[in-house]
Amino acid sequence: MQWLRVLGKLLISMGIGVFLFVLWILYGTGLYTARQQNQLAEEFDRLPAFERQTPEGDPLPPGPPPGYDPAPGAPVFRMRLPTIEDEPMIVVEGVGVDELKLGPGHYPSCRPGFERPLCTPYEEAFPGERGRVIVSGHRTTYGQPFWALNEMEKGDPIHFETRWGDFTYRVTGKEVVPANTQEIVVPSKKYELVLTTCNPRFSAAERLIVFAELETEVAR
């Protein structure tokens, strides 16, 4: 039964290959994202701050200047969730597969480089601006930035460091919705923030949504 022996060895080898693949998914992707985050942090820290007032000295409204359209994968701001994660994260522009491998992604408006359904036809909001700022991130794999998002409670702070100021939001609630819901990506007249990720862990069946509202702005 020589062929049976060969088949057995083949299946064992392929099984080891599947095991290596699982190791890559669970740990290798995290190493990849950590390296990308280091590079993005350096890049973000080199970017100049935006002017906070007009040449006449009048204060500008919070937010980036008109026409600010970061490219897919570009670092847009730094986010810290002190109750669930010690390290701050660089948030990149876009929520596509490639962008979320770099870190959490900021939901963009539809423009060149971003296509439906991974962008919104509405004006995108950035931290500090009126509207709904939406940030999505992996619950598992690729650094799993939102692994413990379910542990956030009402009142927990969420800090943002941007090129136009620093902002703190406070969690107001959380909700689990079906993965295909369209109710999250909508315009808002409030100064609010929405964090989204997969739910439960290791499944894409639902989305865990955390809602927050702007509390303070600290001029840079």
Partner: protein, 39 residues
């Protein structure tokens, strides 16, 4: 018939290559294997 150590080593390397190739194919197909959109 007793096999030489060289023959056994070559066979081990062959099966190791099969394991690595399997992992490489799965990694290359990650985006297709995992649910879309996957978070």
């Amino acid at each position: 018939m007793k096999r030489s150590w060289r023959s056994r080593l070559l066979e081990l390397l062959l099966w190791a290559a099969v394991a690595i190739a399997t992992a490489a194919v799965l990694i290359a197909l990650t985006d297709e294997i995992l649910p879309e959109p996957n978070f």
